[in-house]
C-alpha cells in the first residue's frame, strides 16, 4: 500500500484491475485504492505476470502492506493460467478449441430470433463450429422441429423411431411453428389458471349408493335427480351456495345451478339453470336438456351463461371414477359426478346384520374453496347430498 500523502496511514483496495495470471506492464494501472484524502489508480512498479493478490478488494490495510506479487521473470505471450491450450491457428476450423463457445454473428442471431430458433439445435459448419447464415437458412428450410426451451442436462437429442402410424403422408411431422390455441381454449385456460391461483382448492369425496336413484330415474339420466338432491342439500348448508370475491362472501338465497356442457374438442361451457331451487327433478331435466342442446348449437344467450351460485359437472359416462374439478369462479364449490359402477358392498340390515350386496356405487367429488369453508362444512354438505340421494323417494 503506497504512501499517499504525508498524513495518510492506511488505504483501502477499491478494485483490482488485474487478476492472477494476467500480464502487467510497468506503469500500467494495477489496482485502484482509496484513502481518506484521495481515490487513485496505482501504476505497477514492474512488468510481469501477476502471481498473487494478497489483499482482497474492500480490505483496508496499513501503508507498506504487501498488496500483490508479480513474477518479473515471466515473459508476455506465455499462456495465461486459465488457458489450457494455445489459441488454435486461424486456418483450422475447430469446435471449442479453447473452451469458449463459437461466436454468433449478427445476422445469425437476428434470423434465429425472428424464427425463435434455438441455435444449439443447429449444426454449424463455420469456423470453430459456429452456425453460419447458410447453416441456419438450410435448417429453417428443412422445417426441423424447434424445441421451445433449452434442453435439460438429462434430456438428450436422441429421437426414438416413431411407431408406424396409420396416418397418411399428408399428416406430416408437425411444422416447427405449432398451432395456436383457439380463443375459447385460451379463455377456458385463463379461467382455470386464475381459479387455481386464487382459490385454496381442496377436494372431498363421498361414496354414495345410487340404488334409489336408479330405481327412480326411468329414462332420465341420473343428473337431474342428483341435481335435485344437491339443491336440497344446499338449502340445508347455504354456505355452499355462495360466491367469494376478494374477501367478500355472498351467500345466495336462490340457487342458480351451473351445469357443465362439453362442446367436444372445442371446449366446454357452463350454462346456468336459473332459480333451479324452484324446479322439480323433471323440470331440471328438461331445462338441462334444452340448455345443453342450445349450448352445442351455439344458441345460448349471454345471461344464460353466468351468475351461477353452484356448479355440477358430470363427465361420468366416460367411466372415470374420481376427479378433482376446478372451481368455477367466483363460486366456492363445484361438484363432479363420475361413473356409477356396480360393486360389492357391505349392507347392514335393520337388525344390524351385515351382508354383501351388489349395489350401483358412485363417488361425489367436490372441490371447495378453503378460504370460505373448512373440511367439516364440506363433508357435512356432501353427507347431506348422499343422504338425499340414498333416501330418494318421489
Amino acid at each position: 500500500m503506497p504512501q499517499m500523502g504525508v498524513s495518510v496511514a492506511e488505504g483501502t483496495i477499491t478494485a483490482w484491475r488485474k487478476r492472477p495470471g494476467d500480464w502487467v506492464e510497468r506503469d500500467e494501472v494495477i489496482v485502484e485504492i482509496s484513502t481518506d484524502k484521495v481515490e487513485t489508480e496505482v501504476p505497477s512498479p514492474a512488468a510481469g505476470r501477476v502471481a498473487e493478490l494478497v489483499v482482497e478488494e474492500g480490505a483496508t490495510v496499513d501503508v507498506g502492506t504487501l498488496l500483490a506479487t508479480i513474477d518479473t521473470g515471466s515473459k508476455p505471450g506465455q499462456p495465461h493460467a486459465d488457458e489450457s491450450d494455445p489459441p488454435p491457428p486461424a486456418e483450422e476450423a475447430e469446435a471449442n478449441g479453447n473452451g469458449k463457445a463459437p461466436p454468433v454473428s449478427p445476422v445469425v442471431r437476428r434470423i434465429a430470433d425472428e424464427h425463435s430458433v434455438e441455435l444449439s439445435a443447429v449444426s454449424g459448419t463455420g469456423r470453430r463450429g459456429r452456425v453460419t447464415k447458410k447453416d441456419l437458412l438450410a435448417f429453417l428450410e428443412q422445417g426441423a422441429a424447434k424445441p421451445a426451451e433449452r434442453p435439460l442436462h438429462i434430456e438428450s437429442p436422441y429421437k426414438e423411431e416413431p411407431a408406424p402410424q396409420p396416418s397418411t403422408p399428408a399428416e406430416a411431422a408437425p411444422t416447427g411453428e405449432g398451432e395456436r390455441l383457439s380463443v375459447m381454449r385460451r379463455q377456458i385456460g385463463e379461467h382455470m389458471v386464475r381459479s387455481l391461483h386464487e382459490a385454496a382448492h381442496c377436494t372431498t369425496i363421498v361414496e354414495a349408493d345410487m340404488t334409489a336413484i336408479e330405481a327412480a330415474r326411468g329414462r332420465l339420466s341420473y343428473l337431474p335427480l342428483v341435481a335435485r338432491a344437491t339443491i336440497a342439500a344446499l338449502r340445508e348448508h347455504p354456505r355452499l351456495n355462495a360466491t367469494l370475491e376478494g374477501d367478500r362472501l355472498t351467500v345466495h338465497d336462490e340457487v342458480h345451478l351451473g351445469i357443465a356442457v362439453s362442446l367436444g374438442e372445442e371446449g366446454l361451457i357452463v350454462p346456468v339453470v336459473r332459480n333451479a331451487h324452484e324446479l322439480s327433478h323433471e323440470g331440471l331435466g328438461a331445462r338441462i336438456k334444452d340448455l345443453a342442446a342450445r349450448a352445442r348449437s351455439k344458441q345460448l344467450s349471454p345471461d344464460e351463461v353466468g351468475g351461477a351460485t353452484f356448479t355440477i359437472t358430470n363427465p361420468g359416462r366416460y367411466g372415470a371414477l374420481l376427479a378433482t374439478p376446478i372451481i368455477n369462479q367466483p363460486q366456492v364449490a363445484i361438484l363432479d359426478l363420475e361413473a356409477v359402477v356396480k360393486r360389492p358392498v357391505v349392507v347392514t340390515d335393520g337388525q344390524g346384520g351385515d351382508s354383501i350386496a351388489i349395489r350401483p356405487m358412485t363417488y361425489f367429488c367436490m372441490s371447495w374453496d378453503h378460504r370460505a369453508l373448512d373440511g367439516v362444512g364440506a363433508a357435512e354438505f356432501l353427507g347431506s347430498v348422499k343422504r338425499h340421494v340414498e333416501g330418494w323417494s318421489d
Binding site: S105, V107, G126, T132
Partner: protein
C-alpha cells in the same frame, strides 16, 4: 458498337463534350501540341486550338485556381494533373477555394480535375498514388473512378456537366489494358450509382478502378462459391443503398482498393456497413488494400505492396469459411 480502350474512351468522351459545348476547355501541362503525357488529348490542339487546349506552366495551384476563376465565370474547365500525385501541389486551391466556394457563397464551380492514378508499372512513390481519400475527407468535392471503357467515357461527360468540382480518377494501368464496347456519341453515366460487375449470393467484393478487374479475376472460382462484385464507380457521393442491398443479400463483405489502407474508401465502407447493416453480417468486413507505405519502385517490392489476385482470392476464401 466499336471496341475501344479505356484511354480512347476518355479521349473520346472529352472530345465529344468539347464539341458539344464550347465553354468546355482543357488545361494542363504538355496537353497541347504534345497531346498530353498519356496522349489523352492527342489531336485536340489541332481541332480546338490553343485557347481551348492550354499548355499551362508547371504550376498546379495555378491550374486549379485559374480553373476556379474560369468556372465561376461560366466556362467549364477540365484540368489535367500530369500524375494524380501532383494534385498535392494544387491541394490548397482544390480543397479551400474550389471545394468550399458553393457552401460559403452560393457560387457553383463547375470544373473537372483529371487524375491519372494508380501503379503497377514501376512508377515509384510519386507516380503511383491513389489520392482519393484525401478528397473524400474534404466536403464540396465529388470523386469518380471508372473501371471500364464505357464508364470512363460516360462518367467524364457527367463530371463535366456537373456544376460542382469533380475529381476524375483515371487508372493509368487500365489505359491500354482494358477494352470495351463503348457507345458512339454523347452519353452520361449517372454519378452516385454503383454497377454490379458480377451478381452473386455468398460474398460481396466492393471495389473500384483497376481493382474491379482484379476482383473479377480472383473470384471466378473459389470453391464454387457465388461471389458478387460491385464496381462503386463514384466514391463521393457513395452509393450507400447499393452497397447495403448487396450486404443484405450475401452477409459477407471484402472491400478491395489499391489505395493505402488507413482511412481509405475501405474504412468508410466498412464503417457504413457496421452502422447500417450490422444485423446482416455473417462475418467481419475485411479490407484488402495496399499497406500504409509509399509505393515502391522495384517490381518485387511493388508486387508485394499492391493487392494481387492471390491476395483477394485468399481473403475471399477465408471469409467464406468463417
Amino acid at each position: 458498337m466499336p471496341e475501344i480502350t479505356y484511354l480512347e474512351a476518355i479521349s473520346d468522351g472529352l472530345r465529344e463534350e468539347m464539341r458539344h459545348d464550347e465553354s468546355v476547355f482543357c488545361m494542363g501541362e504538355d496537353i497541347g501540341e504534345f497531346g498530353g503525357a498519356f496522349k489523352v488529348t492527342d489531336g485536340f490542339f489541332e481541332e480546338f486550338g490553343a485557347d481551348r487546349v492550354w499548355d499551362t506552366p508547371l504550376a498546379e495551384n495555378a491550374i486549379v485556381g485559374a480553373a476556379v476563376g474560369a468556372a465561376v465565370e461560366g466556362l467549364r474547365p477540365v484540368c489535367e494533373m500530369q500524375f494524380a500525385d501532383f494534385i498535392a501541389c494544387g491541394f490548397d486551391q482544390l480543397v479551400n477555394v474550389a471545394g468550399k466556394m458553393y457552401y460559403r457563397q452560393g457560387l457553383a464551380v463547375p470544373m473537372v480535375v483529371r487524375l491519372p492514378s494508380g501503379g503497377g508499372f514501376s512508377g515509384g512513390p510519386f507516380h503511383s498514388q491513389n489520392p482519393e481519400a484525401w478528397f473524400l475527407q474534404s466536403p464540396g468535392l465529388k470523386v469518380v473512378a471508372p473501371s471500364t471503357a464505357e464508364d470512363a467515357k460516360g462518367l467524364l461527360a457527367s463530371a463535366i456537366r456537373d456544376p460542382n468540382p469533380v475529381l476524375y480518377l483515371e487508372h493509368k494501368n487500365l489505359y491500354r489494358r482494358v477494352k470495351g464496347d463503348v457507345p458512339e456519341g454523347r452519353y452520361e453515366t449517372p454519378m452516385g450509382e454503383l454497377r454490379v460487375a458480377r451478381e452473386g449470393t455468398d460474398l460481396t467484393v466492393v471495389s473500384y478502378g483497376a481493382m474491379v478487374h482484379t476482383a473479377l479475376e480472383a473470384t471466378e472460382d473459389i470453391d464454387g462459391a457465388s461471389i458478387e462484385v460491385l464496381d462503386l464507380r463514384t466514391l463521393c457521393p457513395l452509393d450507400r443503398d447499393g452497397i447495403l442491398e448487396s450486404v443484405r443479400k450475401t452477409s459477407k463483405v471484402v472491400v478491395l482498393h489499391e489505395a493505402t489502407r488507413s482511412c481509405g474508401v475501405g474504412a468508410e465502407v466498412s464503417s457504413l456497413i457496421a452502422e447500417e447493416a450490422f444485423e446482416d453480417l455473417d462475418g467481419p468486413v475485411v479490407r484488402v488494400t495496399a499497406p500504409d507505405v509509399p509505393i515502391p519502385f522495384s517490381p518485387p517490392l511493388e508486387r508485394a505492396v499492391l493487392p494481387q489476385v492471390d491476395d483477394v482470392r485468399k481473403a475471399c476464401h477465408d471469409l467464406l469459411a468463417y
